[in-house]
């Protein structure tokens, strides 16, 4: 086909008397060598600069979004001497876990092999875990059997590998993977529920609802406080700018006679640690009504046992509790009502967004609560 087209095209010719003499063409062609070389050098130089610029931008982007590409974190619950409890190991979409530093998740703990297992994030199922040949691992108490029945980890699932125990905190994929079914807890919870009378079940449901409402109110209260702090800071900065401008206009910029230097509002961190019952000065009525009865900022969501019943294996819907069921019993929660550090012991209940979204940790923390609480961790925002 191309040959037919080209034959046809070749048959069309221009008048022969327009031809350039060979000597003149030779001269032009020899002169044009330098032109082509120059253009080629420009092309290569521009390409290289473009490549280098993009590399630089990619590095900057990595600094700005250090968590880009990670789907979650493995929080160390038990990690021996090498890994501190609470330490978070970022989890990429795919990778290996083992004692070697070349692994994506380096877990130098007794009982873990150099390359112990391989994992891959599946948007529908969760984090697929597959031990290497001859290795073992279990997820939420369920051991690995064969490659045909792989283990999947959801948000809050626990991975037992060697003597290490890790809990998964997912950044993404809530809508697909939901939360950890916790088969071991689920099994016992199921039998307990069968024994419950309808009144007891009703009471438990009410308690769940109340606990959830209280926790949400607490979160809202903290968000409002933080917003006020921000607004105050912005106001102060604007005042400062106005003052400086005024000083400059009056020609008094150098001696500082433009007025007293206003003090920046001190960030009142104590509001997050406000003891129970103490009110913020300008809290709106509706917020006052919802003010928490105690607790610092990182209040842990109530136990799943107190939250909506999601243990039926269904996917969580919007508004449902997105977090993994807590291993603690009601009595334990009551004991921990001081909202101390222990409250978020394994650091998985506070679902954290990627830190990368922010330059500062504070901003990340603030936004984390605002957005994640708003969407209950159940939406990816689109």
């Amino acid at each position: 086909m191309p040959s037919e087209i080209t034959d046809f095209l070749s048959s069309i010719t221009l008048p022969g008397d327009l031809a350039v003499p060979a000597e003149i063409y030779e001269l032009i062609a020899q002169a044009a060598r330098y032109w082509f070389l120059l253009l080629m050098a420009i092309i290569v130089w521009r390409s290289f600069r473009w490549y280098r610029r993009d590399r630089r931008q990619a590095k900057k982007r990595l600094k700005l979004l250090p968590d880009a590409g990670f789907v979650g974190e493995m929080v160390v619950i038990e990690g021996g001497e090498a890994l501190k409890r609470g330490q978070a190991l970022p989890v990429p979409r795919e990778g290996t876990l083992g004692t070697l530093r070349t692994n994506d998740l380096c877990v130098p703990v007794e009982g873990v092999a150099r390359r112990h297992l391989w994992f891959r994030f599946d948007e529908d199922e969760g984090l697929r875990v597959e031990p290497m040949r001859g290795q073992t691992a279990s997820v939420d108490g369920e051991p690995f059997k064969s490659r045909r029945e792989p283990l999947y980890m959801a948000h809050g699932s626990r991975l037992y590998v060697g003597k290490a125990q890790l809990r998964l905190r997912l950044f993404a994929g809530f809508e697909g993977t939901g939360y950890a079914p916790r088969r071991d807890v689920e099994a016992t919870a199921g039998t307990e529920r069968q024994d419950e009378s309808p009144e007891q079940a009703q009471a438990a449901a009410t308690a769940q609802q109340q606990a959830m409402q209280q926790w949400m109110a607490q979160q809202q209260y903290m968000m409002q406080q933080q917003l006020w702090q921000q607004q105050a800071m912005q106001q102060w900065m604007m005042q400062q700018a106005a003052l400086q401008q005024a000083a400059g206009r009056n020609g008094q910029a150098g001696d500082g006679a433009g007025g007293e230097e206003a003090e920046p509002p001190v960030r009142d961190d104590s509001i997050f640690m406000r003891p129970a019952g103490e009110r913020a000065p300008a809290l709106p009525e509706e917020m006052q009504a919802a003010e928490p009865t105690g607790g610092p900022e990182n209040a842990t969501p109530p136990d799943e046992a107190q939250g909506p019943d999601l243990s039926g294996g269904s996917q969580p819907e919007e508004g449902d509790w997105p977090y993994a069921p807590s291993p603690r019993s009601d009595a334990e929660w009551e004991e921990l009502a001081c909202f101390g550090d222990e409250m978020d012991e394994d650091m998985t209940d506070a679902a954290a967004p990627p830190r990368s979204a922010y330059v500062g940790h504070d901003e990340a923390e603030r936004a984390k609560r605002k957005v994640w609480d708003r969407y209950f961790g159940g939406g990816r925002g689109r």
């Binding site: 191309p2 095209l9 080629m40 092309i43 490549y51 880009a68 795919e94 979204a357 605002k370």
Partner: protein, 442 residues
């Protein structure tokens, strides 16, 4: 600030942004490439009798470059630099072939231009496949079976060209299946390696190598083997087994040298072609002489005697480039390949899934190995093997296959861009949510 000074400041800002826009690297680069080919084709048109084809190419090729570099990224978030480099190399091939056509009564340049258009379509198809196909489980098996059948087809109905039975005729057009199977090989290797399934990819790779050996297509077999080995190392990091593979390849080369007379001869030509100047060493000697006669700046476009070199339009096209444009230009062409490979590696390393990373890396490595084999052969660094120079050499299947490889890399790049956009979206949503007053959020 008075109104006039405000207006002046605004005008300054607008001028600055306009200047910045003009300085955009893509526009600068594409403009330079377009200017290069416009002037080059125009110049060649005046060589000998005036032919309108040259004028047409002077317009069509730059327009094609412009369209495919600047407009394709409007369909997919593709990598413009990669597109620009691939387009430049393709257009360079068209230019050189058209130049050598003048006075020879051939029409390879125009044909190559048509193949170039087909290559762009193949690239778009590959981008589409990588970008939108999410469930590869079943599809990859179909690809595997189809590729195996296609690869084995020349054994049944193939025709021999240059000693290798690796061509088939379809509707009057010669097709080299092993070039097209390259794309399938990459998909198969990447998919099964990313899923940690050893047997399927290993079986396919062994089958492909055996078939290629039977077809005596040693150059392609070398590319397949090297790519497979590299991807194996990239996916597993298993140095001992990779080393074993390298040792095996070395052993096979030594064995081949001892067993086959033509391999011995080829090595002997490579070591000293001047002894065989009038017989088997003629091609390599002519190539070396062409490069030497071009010197630093070349003899000039359309001048010299490129047609003296046997198969100057495929294997030895780099020697023609060096003769007409000079060694410096040749080195700059090599630099373009290096930038292309570096870009491919960047894209592969930015991929979020191992399938995409292996796919982009495999395509890049394949292009890199092929370039090294042919340019190393032309420059007498290694024994000359009959493979094409990616994008530049004459041949529809080769060009379509290379553009398909670029399409695979571009597909991965576009997926990367989507992932990055998602990250930004998340971060901006979070930032806005954090900073916006409560009332505005509702």
């Amino acid at each position: 600030m008075s109104r006039r000074s405000q207006a002046r400041a605004e005008a300054r800002r607008a001028a600055q942004s306009a200047r910045r826009l003009r300085r955009r690297p893509d526009r600068m680069l594409v403009s330079a490439i377009m200017l290069f080919f416009f002037t080059a084709f125009l110049l060649v048109s005046f060589n000998g009798e005036l032919e309108w084809e040259g004028f047409a190419l002077a317009v069509i090729v730059p327009v094609l470059i412009r369209l495919s570099t600047m407009w394709v990224p409007r369909l997919f978030p593709a990598d413009k630099l990669l597109l620009a480099i691939a387009n430049f190399l393709c257009a360079l091939g068209v230019l050189i072939l058209y130049t050598t056509d003048r006075g020879a009564g051939t029409s390879r340049g125009i044909q190559q231009a048509i193949y170039y258009g087909a290559g762009i379509i193949a690239m778009l198809a590959c981008i589409f496949v990588v970008r939108y196909v999410r469930r590869w489980g079943f599809l990859i098996k179909v690809v595997m079976l189809g590729a195996a059948a296609l690869l084995a087809l020349p054994l049944a109905i193939g025709t021999e060209q240059n000693g290798a039975t690796n061509w088939i005729n379809i509707a009057g057009t010669s097709v080299q299946p092993s070039e097209l199977v390259k794309l399938a090989l990459l998909l198969i290797l990447s998919w099964f390696m990313s899923r940690r399934r050893f047997l399927p990819w290993f079986a396919f790779a062994v089958f492909s190598l055996l078939v290629l050996m039977l077809q005596q297509d040693l150059g392609t077999a070398l590319i397949y083997y090297a790519t497979t080995l590299f991807l194996f190392y990239a996916s597993t990091g298993n140095l001992p087994l990779t080393g074993l593979g390298l040792v095996g390849a070395g052993g096979a080369a030594v064995l081949g040298y001892m067993m086959f007379a033509h391999v011995k001869k080829r090595v002997a030509i490579w070591r000293n072609p001047w002894i065989y100047y009038e017989t088997s060493g003629y091609q390599i000697v002519q190539m070396l002489m062409a490069i030497a006669s071009g010197g630093l700046f070349g003899v000039g476009l359309g001048l010299g005697a490129p047609r003296v070199i046997p198969v100057y339009f495929t294997d030895c096209i780099f020697a023609v480039i060096c003769e007409q444009f000079g060694v410096i230009f040749g080195a700059l062409v090599l630099a373009m390949y290096v930038i292309l490979i570096l870009r491919g590696v960047s894209i592969a390393s930015a991929a979020r899934s191992s399938f995409h990373a292996l796919l982009a890396m495999g395509a890049t490595v394949m292009l890199g190995i092929q370039t090294f084999i042919i340019i190393g052969g032309v420059l007498k660094l290694i024994p000359l093997t009959g493979v094409t120079m990616p994008f530049v050499s004459y041949g529809g299947t080769s060009l379509v296959s290379c553009m398909g490889l670029i399409g695979l890399i571009q597909g991965v790049a576009s997926v990367n861009q989507d992932d990055l956009a998602y990250d930004y979206e998340i971060s901006h949503t979070l930032q806005e949510e954090a900073l916006m007053p409560e009332a505005d959020r509702e």
